[in-house]
């Protein structure tokens, strides 16, 4: 099969350019965060979402603006012509395009195994409600939700000593919390984790997040979107931390709860890292623990520092990226 012909089709050009355009956006946006020391998760999430939009729409938009953009004449004077690399034979007669296809396949595989299958599993499991004790409001601790808002979700207690905490939206939102968590946390810690889940419920009602996830599925082959989507999810956790802290007025309680629920169970030793069979799990745990640590640090230090007035910068960065990407084919 002639690989160069695959990349000359519209789909091939779309995949290649989407990859390159998101790479450029990724680098510029990461540098923006670094240069302006942007830490507000809300602002960071907006910039990261921009990368997904650029990956999806930039190439068709440019083709509409200039149908000859894929022509050789344009490519000769472009800032970056992907076909030069894709046709380049590096090892023997294997073109770089072949390596690019492998990268796409690995990225798609990771998406299917780590995102799509767990999502489908979760969708199936959530149809089968867990064994619950009844409404939390009417059980052991009263008035825990007081002051957390007018639209309160149902609280269902799962009969399980493990730490389980999640929420479902829909007509009647529900926060599921396990008996293990209730036994472990104090009242104010419990109030803060429920406030965090309520923030998720409130934000999941926004159509933007659903659209982002649909776009993320479309970009299943894109390595940079794989990375960015995970960071968007991490930022989402931090945004919900901020909302919960604002509602309860007690960020320390959420920090303590996170520490109790996640950090006490994770202890990684050098020995674990040396054992190859444990490496994947250990690294995953390590990365998860780093995220939790960073959330705890935020809650203990610099919470609620809202960074306003970023729209000017947002539009300027978008323009810079769009102009550069126009010349990347």
């Amino acid at each position: 099969m002639d690989i160069s012909r695959v990349f000359n089709t519209y789909l091939g050009m779309y995949i290649t350019q989407s990859f390159c355009h998101s790479a450029v956006a990724f680098i510029i946006i990461e540098r923006t965060f670094h240069a302006w020391k942007i830490t507000d998760p809300f602002v960071k999430q907006r910039f990261r979402i921009l990368i997904i939009f650029i990956a999806i729409f930039s190439m068709p938009l440019y083709q509409l603006m200039n149908p000859h953009r894929g022509s050789l004449a344009f490519r000769q004077y472009a800032l970056f012509d992907s076909s030069r690399w894709l046709n380049l034979e590096l090892i023997g007669s294997i073109p770089f395009g072949f390596i690019f296809i492998i990268i796409i396949l690995i990225t798609s595989g990771i998406f299917i195994l780590q995102e799509l299958i767990p999502l489908l599993k979760h969708a199936i499991e959530s149809r089968m409600p867990p064994s619950v004790e009844g409404d939390y409001n009417s059980s052991s601790i009263d008035n825990i939700l007081e002051g957390l808002g007018e639209e309160l979700p149902d609280i269902k207690v799962i009969v399980d000593e493990d730490y389980i905490l999640y929420s479902t939206t829909g007509r009647r939102p529900v926060v599921y919390i396990s008996r293990g968590i209730i036994n472990m946390l104090t009242k104010r810690q419990l109030r803060s984790v429920i406030a965090h889940e309520m923030a998720h419920i409130r934000r999941n009602k926004l159509p933007l997040l659903t659209i982002i996830y649909l776009f993320r599925i479309l970009m299943f082959f894109n390595l940079f979107i794989l990375i960015e989507f995970r960071r968007i999810v991490q930022e989402e956790e931090k945004i919900c931390d901020d909302i919960a802290a604002e509602k309860t007025g007690d960020p320390a309680a959420l920090a303590e709860a996170l520490e109790k629920l996640y950090m006490d169970n994770i202890s990684i030793t050098g020995k674990d890292l040396k054992r190859l069979s444990n490496l994947k799990e250990t690294l995953e745990e390590y990365s998860h623990s780093l995220q939790i640590e960073s959330r705890i640090r935020r809650l203990n230090n610099s919470l609620n520092k809202k960074e306003g007035g970023y729209w000017g910068m947002f539009i300027s960065i978008l323009l810079v990226i769009m102009v550069i990407n126009y010349f990347i084919v």
Partner: protein, 173 residues
């Protein structure tokens, strides 16, 4: 402080641009036969060792010789593209391309937007596909393509079919 950050950021963008340009240039250093622009046909012959370059013998008066742009590559398959401009109107009027790949069809700045007719005819044992239609600016455009000793040849011009057929037939020996 803000101005310092701004200029620092501008410098970063400049560095990114230079890096991208360098990455784009790397394949040309690594392999000489990567698609690039050449000054004349002789240079293509010498550098890429493409022995047979098909050039029209019949050439309408309005077209400028030599080609205003020549692009060629040795890999993944040998290919050469010659762009000819109109001497009076300073626009591209003819593109001749040849590539040793099945279905090689270069679509550059001359592209038939609206196809009016497709005719297949035979000349000196070659099966020639002739397409007529209009280009971007509604000018009549004609395209002919056939296979010549393993090379797929395509000529597209802002000319009527009889004129293009003359050019095509002048390329076949």
């Amino acid at each position: 402080m803000r101005i310092r950050i701004f200029f620092g950021f501008l410098l970063t963008i400049l560095m990114i641009l230079i890096t991208i340009k360098f990455i784009n240039y790397l394949p040309l250093i690594i392999r000489e036969d990567t698609m690039r622009q050449y000054h004349d046909i002789e240079e293509v012959r010498k550098r890429l060792n493409i022995k047979e370059i098909h050039i029209p013998v019949y050439f309408p008066q309005d077209l400028m010789w030599p080609p205003s742009e020549i692009y060629a590559q040795g890999r993944p398959y040998p290919a050469i593209i010659m762009v000819f401009k109109n001497s009076k109107k300073e626009r591209i009027d003819l593109i001749v391309s040849q590539g040793r790949a099945e279905g090689f069809d270069y679509e550059g700045k001359l592209k038939i937007k609206m196809v009016r007719d497709r005719i297949r005819y035979s000349f000196k044992g070659r099966d020639i596909m002739l397409i007529t239609g209009s280009c971007d600016d509604q000018d009549i455009c004609t395209k002919a393509s056939w296979t010549e000793g393993g090379d797929r040849i395509t000529i597209i011009a802002r000319l009527d079919p009889p004129m293009l057929i003359k050019i095509a037939e002048s390329m076949i020996r």
